[in-house]
Amino acid sequence: MTRRDFTLLVGFACLILVIPLVVRNEYFLHLFILAAMFANLAGYWNLLDGYLGLINFGYAAYVGIGAYTSALLAMHFSLPIPLCMVIGGLLAGIVGVLLIIPCLRMVTFSTAIVTLAFGEIARIGATAWTGLTKGEMGLWGIPPLFPSQNKLLYYYGCLGLLVLGALMLKCLLHSRLGLAVLSTREDETAANTSGIETNRIKLLISGISCFAAGVVGAFYAHYILTITPGLFSIGYTIQIMTMSMFGGKGTLSGPILGAFALIFLGEGFRFMQDYRMLVYGFLIIGTVMVFPTGLAGAIARVKQAMGIKRK
């Protein structure tokens, strides 16, 4: 990492670490927490889509599964909350893997449709299974992760997850597994004949990505303390996807940038709340057509240009 990269990273880290300490506005902190959560989700979505090339259009469903599982376990069995979160993640991960198994034999596009359909089915299921989930009314009275109401704790907790996750992803991508993932995306057949069991890679990465989604969902449940089946809706998947794309698919920093950018830009244009989805739509089109490398790519180009100017 060059010195300039490092400075930028430290700068960004300071920003997101220190500002919440300084600005004690509750709503502002809430935004930071949301941004950190979405940063996590966008990052793991990116692992699946940007790095492996597997699109899962029902991603929000795993967030929902983790949230509901953890909440219900904590409410009915009074298990320690971190344990509930992990179990929620595990269930989400297992479901994710199971769903991908039949998709392995299919064309990419059938996979896209199937994952989309699953997301919808999960949402309908969560709404209809009122005995378990209380349906549209939602689940409330979820025990909080931190006993105190201090939002700062939640923020740093989520940030901790983010840093942990980012480090893990970095290690993963620089390891043998990372090489296998990239090869699978480049050319699956050539990867297979070079000794990579691409099916296993897909299952593994799906498991990891969905597990992480479930954990974040569980975190959300124990933060916001009320959840509804709306959590499963495709709107969230699209948000996550947009953040990942806008920030820069296929990079580590991209999704994080994208998440923070979109959450805060969304707030900055608060009068545009009604237009939010419309803006996301335009962003998706714009990103694909005009700047496919996203924010991260734009920053890299700016750095390059500045470097040339200096010389």
Partner: protein, 249 residues
Amino acid sequence: MSSEAILSLREVSKSFGGLKALDTVSFDLDRGQITSLVGPNGSGKTTLFNCISGIYTPESGRIHFSGREVTSYSAARRCKMGIGRTFQVVRPFLKMTCFENILVGWCFGQEKYQKPAASDADGILEFVGLKDRKHHQAGELRLAERKRLEIARALATQPKLLLLDEVAAGLNPVEVQQVVTLLRQIHQQGITLLIVEHVMSLVMDISDRVIVLNEGKKLADDQPEYVSNNQKVIEVYLGPSELDPKDTA
């Protein structure tokens, strides 16, 4: 199946929809041989390669490699057992460097994973003559270099049998000669070669044995001189003729 046979096909058939691409093909390959697989376009050569390397599963018949039946094994597993392969339309990992391409083969294709040392990769790169392209992206390489990279990647998997699909296609005569030299060097290391080729000079030059396929069936299987004089083979390539083949020579 003789004890020397490294690869053994028995009645292998493969259809796509209504088209029978391979029809009860059987043969044995002996260890250390160089065998060429020839035949007109569409005769099933690449399909046969795909069945041997594990990309397709034959609908009937059996394949044995190194004494084990591999008909149901995945392509990755067969690679680890020692079947390496290159493709008719070259497909190295374009966005990765030459070094990384070889790394993939080394890390995943061997029977037991060995931590790669820089010298291993350098050795293979030097062997195929790509040492100075080590950190260049595969996408930047010329066709002849990409072919050598694919061979290098396959070699990194420590194959016992190497399947080469039209490795001389698209190369000028100088480059073809370079490939021939490379193949001989690979052969000297004890690797069995099965090559699909249209460039007849290469086939005649290098092969111990030639197998001819036509419309999915094995037509001939013999030493090069005998196959090139085989009436049926000539007809398949040139069309039926009433002339005595000796007159046209």
